[in-house]
Amino acid sequence: MENVNIKINGMPLSVPKDATVLEACRLAGIQVPTLCYLKEINEIGACRICVVEVKGARTLVASCCAPVNEGMEVYTNTPKVLDSRKKTLQLILSTHKRACLSCVRSGNCELQKLCKDLGVEDESYYDGENVEYDIDDSAAHMYRDNSKCILCRRCVAACQMQKVGVIGPNDRGFESHIGCAFDLNLGDTSCISCGQCIVACPTGAIAEKDQTDLVWQALADPEKTVIVNTAPSIRATLGEAFGMPIGTNVEGKMVAALRRLGFDRVFDTDFSADLTIMEEAHEFLDRVKNGGKLPLITSCSPGWIKFCEHYYPEMIENLSSCKSPQQMFGAITKTWYAEKEGLDPKNIFVVSIMPCTAKKFEVGRDDQAAAGVPDVDVALTTRELARMIERAGLNFTLLPDEAFDNPLGESTGAGVIFGATGGVMEAALRTAVETLTGEALADVTFQEVRGTAGIKEATYHVAGMDINVAVASGTKNADELLKKVQSGEKQYHFIEIMGCPGGCVNGGGQPVQHASVRNNVDLKALRAKALYDADEAKAIRKSHDNPVIKEVYESYLGEPGSEKAHHILHTTYVKRGL
């Protein structure tokens, strides 16, 4: 790569020719503040916070989208620059509902941090007339409050990045606001509930619907046995909410915290991930042997499922009929476990801790009530769990490491990698290949399906046949892949799709990392590494070797794919259209 010579604040520097001024400043050790900029997602230079002075330029320059050139002289901290940034913030504040004391993002708000960092003293300097907006809480999983919106459009870009695009800027000038087409309610659109807009939002304008009160009430109810399960990726991200480094595995502290919050049983969704593999691998082999609909596509990700129902209704038959691990957990808890423990399913309250806002939607789907009551009562995001831990005054980082309860805390390495793109495929292959060959795998890793690439493909030669698999994460990549499948350009037997880019580790329910962090580290890869490390550390790494899984089949379900398994662990989908 060719370099150019520039000066930043008088210091000479050689930087790549295609760098932006913002990137060049970072190479010089200067973090220019940004607000609307999300690397590779929203690069529109709209907010004017990242302005710098460039010698010879007529006006201040938005560093996030200005390219460097030979001989450029950049100044990042002149009075003119500092004054401009401050005025911009004051103007943004003039239409921002400053409910900072009670705001869900207080303490983790990028606007709040910028105001503090850039010395905004008079927050009401430009106050004047404002447009009144209603809160849109029509969707199952989230709300939008335009009175806190600063029109940075990061949510719009995130929605487009998912190839959904149901929110965008409407009207113009003073009336400009983010909304859906014809200002319809979000709940009436083809929103897939992925929550990528939430983790992109710098303020409290978009957030998940907080359901922690329902959980506090259940915990205080002596009639209820409150059972919690934590999705694979939560252990890799929860620590971030307490200032721990990205990619720290906090499984032990998480279990300790849940126990101290008062949950009667602390179980692991990794168990039901193993259960999902048993059913899904069986379904796959069954479709291959008996000429069923191929490619089989995984059904763990409710954001992907909703995307498929809206945008690819003609491919619903390709979806695995398996419930997601969350729903399988609730279903097996309220049937097999309830029976075993002599509990009335009506008095069991199942709480899931999920990386995902679409899980809140999934809980309310039809055909998710194996015991005649909803499989899962409440799905909380990682952020909501962190909020409960804070509210309870638990000093998370100082908690001891504790182990999950038995029996539904027993899981394998195959279960834990479900949280990263490619993980479900790898887990399924571990079981499917051994079932087909009847021999133990020498190496349980399937490197080809690992990594954060949006689309991955591999062909495996198993028992005399070629199995073509593909993995996509992020619904835009899913869209690209499915177009190739539909046109006949690509032929696969088995496809894993996760709705969020990078999979659940990067889900819409995960702790919000500021753009200043997101732009400079690979969140997806760091978080995923924690899961692959956990897999490697496990004694048992194949779902079918999980002793409790064996017990559940032997004593209750019979074989994978049995009638009883179908009744309890499988579901149906609907064509939603646009």
């Binding site: 907006y133 695009g165 965008g168 087409a181 014809f182 319809l184 646009l578």
Partner: protein, 166 residues
């Protein structure tokens, strides 16, 4: 916030749709052709209801919200048809200081629509305009080609009743 779908039932014809599809086909692969398509669609239908925008979104391969974002940005695009009786109230300086704002508000209240909208029965549409060149008669409004001057809000019920009866 109430949605912006026109309350006037859509009654586009097969011929109109055919024309629209031809316009889209001619522009489909041209970068930045959306505005051009929207202008021609409005020429065909007279306005851009959700039914028309949905066709454009689907055939152009862009989200409906993106189409709506453009339509709602430009004043030249209308989400509502013009009524059989098109009421324009002058909110120019002379009329405004003579009280045309009150006249406009009275119309808006009585008809239950705001500027740029049309009553669900398709009879009346309401818009604000700037100076019809009859400042001596301020405040002024027009209904189609008919001019009404020296108005007070109390005149409105009578005028509307006249058009209701036609």
């Amino acid at each position: 916030m109430a949605n912006k779908i026109s309350p006037v039932p859509f009654n586009g014809t097969k011929e109109q749709e055919q024309k629209l599809l031809e316009v889209i086909a001619a522009h489909k692969d041209t970068q930045g052709a959306l505005i051009s398509v929207l202008q021609q669609a409005q020429d065909i239908y007279g306005y851009l209801p959700i039914e028309v925008q949905k066709i454009i979104a689907e055939k152009m391969g862009v989200p409906l919200e993106e189409v709506y974002g453009v339509v709602s940005f430009y004043a030249q695009f209308s989400l509502n048809p013009k009524g059989r009786y098109k009421i324009s109230v002058c909110l120019g300086t002379a009329c405004y200081v003579k009280g045309s704002g009150d006249v406009f508000d009275k119309l808006s209240r009585t008809l239950g629509i705001s500027s740029g909208e049309c009553t669900p029965d398709g009879r009346f549409s309401l818009e604000a305009c700037r100076c019809v060149g009859a400042c001596g008669l301020a405040p002024v409004m027009t209904v189609n080609d008919e001019v009404y001057g020296r108005l007070v809000p109390d005149d409105i019920d009578g005028i509307l009743a006249d058009y209701q009866a036609r």
